[in-house]
């Protein structure tokens, strides 16, 4: 008996539900086995994760705080991925967005909070957008691989940020520690309900709705999808590839840049060395797990938030080392992403003698 892998010709809704659920169950089960061998009760550990991240208002609020930048950046990369343009530079776009917003605070300071926030918003969007559009233009015009350029632009952005926080923008009272002075309140996004949930929440709700609508119901959304699936056909249909790639990258980068501004102005309150916790990279996993669906991105970001917030608590409550929590998080992601494979392909066992199905058919006819 042999096993063969073949693509599924159609995908039923039952598979679409069954596979993620089964993947998650398998992930939790194997994670449980791992936890058992680490010497802790899997049930207690899972309960600790859920209690910490969802069990009370504080945990829930912190999970949302984590989900906000992930959702926004997830939407940003989703947009480019839909067009099969691989923007993996969201991290850098977050950085330049934050740098631009900080520049506004330093050089265009006014006492009006709405004016400040709008200026920071626009500056961050423009900076992130242009940063990404550079790679988009090079891709569309000269076929320069955007995976390489966006990745490399991350490091440039990172060093640009370091230049500012180590150099001209450093807080003189920080004793050499690389960070800007704290922002005045007029440059801070409002926070809600006495938690750390900030104004970015509004964008994290609006953006998925907006892009769901745009991709599904507008002509431009249709063009992007067609260009993603078949750029040649799109060209024959008179769609402008260059313009759309640059535009999509600009919007993608702008959203990432604004996510950076929200994190900066809503949560951190100052620009600092090592500013983003890798949201730009996690967003790629988020968008992928969500299969590029805007609403699923919100859900997956929230699940990521649970894993991140709950993971810390495992260290405290179950006294597990960080590395074993990272293994657990990795296992869960591995299974959920791996499940995707079974949605697209199926594994069938075939007997050696009927390996060639064509021979079997005539013998059936003879009867």
């Amino acid at each position: 008996m042999k096993l063969t892998i073949e693509p599924r010709l159609s995908s039923s809704w039952r598979l679409a539900v069954f596979i993620p659920v089964f993947s998650l169950a398998a992930a939790l089960f194997s994670g449980g086995v791992f936890l058992y061998f680490m010497g802790v009760s899997p049930f207690q550990a899972y309960r600790a994760i859920l209690t910490a991240s969802l069990g009370d208002a504080y945990g829930l609020s912190e999970t949302v705080v984590k989900a906000i930048p992930l959702t926004m950046t997830g939407i940003a990369v989703m947009l480019s991925f839909t067009m099969l343009i691989w923007n993996i530079g969201a991290e850098g776009q977050i950085f330049v967005g934050a740098i631009a917003a900080t520049a506004v605070v330093r050089f265009f300071y006014t006492d009006s909070r709405p004016v400040m926030l709008i200026m920071m918003f626009l500056a961050a969007g423009a900076a992130g957008g242009i940063w990404a559009a550079i790679a988009g233009f090079m891709r569309a015009k000269w076929s320069v691989n955007e995976i390489i350029t966006t990745l490399m632009l991350n490091y440039i952005a990172m060093n640009l940020l370091n230049y500012f926080v180590f150099g001209p923008w450093r807080d003189p009272s920080s004793l050499g520690f690389p960070m800007t002075p704290p922002f005045p309140d007029t440059a801070r996004l409002p926070v809600f309900w006495g938690t750390r949930i900030h104004g970015g929440l509004i964008l994290a709700i609006i953006l998925p709705l907006l892009f769901w609508f745009v991709l599904k119901f507008t002509r431009w959304g249709y063009e992007i999808r067609v260009m993603g699936e078949n750029p040649r056909a799109a060209g024959f249909a008179g769609m402008n590839y260059l313009r759309n790639v640059v535009l999509v990258m600009f919007i993608s980068g702008a959203i990432a840049g604004i996510a950076g501004m929200c994190e900066l102005s809503g949560l951190q309150g100052r620009l600092q060395h090592g500013f983003s916790g890798g949201y730009g990279f996690t967003a790629i996993i988020v968008a992928w797990l969500a299969r590029l669906h805007p609403f699923a991105i919100v859900l997956v970001s929230f699940l990521m938030g649970i894993l991140l917030v709950g993971g810390e608590t495992l260290q405290i409550v179950m006294r597990l080392p960080l590395s074993s929590i990272m293994v657990l998080q990795g296992m869960i992601l591995f299974f959920v992403l791996g499940g995707e494979f079974f949605r697209k392909y199926r594994i069938r066992s075939v007997k050696d003698d009927d390996a060639v199905p064509l021979q079997a058919a005539p013998s059936g006819e003879e009867k």
Binding site: S173, L175, F177, Q268, G277, Q315, R319
Partner: protein
Amino acid sequence: MKKITAILAAAFVFMFCGTVFAAFPPVPAEEINPGFVYIGPVGDGGYTFMHDKGRLFMEAEVPGVKSRFVESVPEGPDATRVMETLVRNGSKVIFANSFGHMDFVLETAKKFPEVIFMHCSGYKVAENVGTYFGRMYQARYLSGLVAGSMTKKNIIGYVGAYPIPEVVRGINAFTRGVRKVNPDAEVRVIWIFSWLDPGKEKEAAKALIDAGADVIGMHADTGAAPQAAEEAGVYVVGYNNDMSNYAPTKHLTAPIWNWGIVYRDTMKQVIAGTWKSEQIWPGLKEGMVDLAPFGKDVPDPVKKIVEEEKAKIISGSWDVFTGPVKDQQGVVKVPEGTTMTDGEMLSMSWFVEGVKGDIPK
């Protein structure tokens, strides 16, 4: 810049001995559940590893206390959540072990005035926030004596983390030791702008070796620089703990931390109800800092000098920054017969004579 330094120095003096806070009520040992917030993983083999060793020492010394820790907590908003989660899970005392946790410690401390926070290496205090650090400069000086004796080319490399007073003070003390035994030697500094980045630590050490250094000193969290030195066949002075594992044949010694002393004493104070917000800074005398065992290449006369200088510091008759101390330009910063105050040392932002490198402004 000088003016700012002077203001900072004044601020330090004020903070160091100006405010006196009231003592906290006692807490039974079983209810303290001290929570440790670590900048790195406990397996870093250096800085956080030594803090964790101190934590275990505390658990052994103070019966009934059961602690917990969170590893790799960045110096950002995540630190606030980690501390708040510790408090919500019953921690009555929080230790945060990195400079950059400072503002997040104060933010959380404000929210939980009944919880005691101890912040390592910072300078901001509150009613319920104390700081702790050690006079590592004393052990650094002793290690400098060894480095200065062992260099042949008179070039010593130094891998520096961030250009902040803690690191600058360490470089200065090390250089004072080097120049005491070898006035011709110079200490070259490379900043890596990170506490913990084995890649950068190693690259910086390699660059210094390529530039001619035949002894490497370091202020970073891991054993990567000693590894680079061992590979290149040059001597190295480790940091944090005995790093001879990373450089078995080339490790001369290392200035090391015994954090357990602070952790044990803090627990005892909290249990007795005598804890109050202070800035504690114990040194060689208290055993908070020390030197790791000497490598086999260190000759006896060098060991003898180190012992003599150590005795001098412990007796209190002399300290590392007792004048005359000159800066890089040869200007006398501390005249003969005077010693730098704690406030001046804590805000040190200039290099002494013999250091080659600069402090980014």
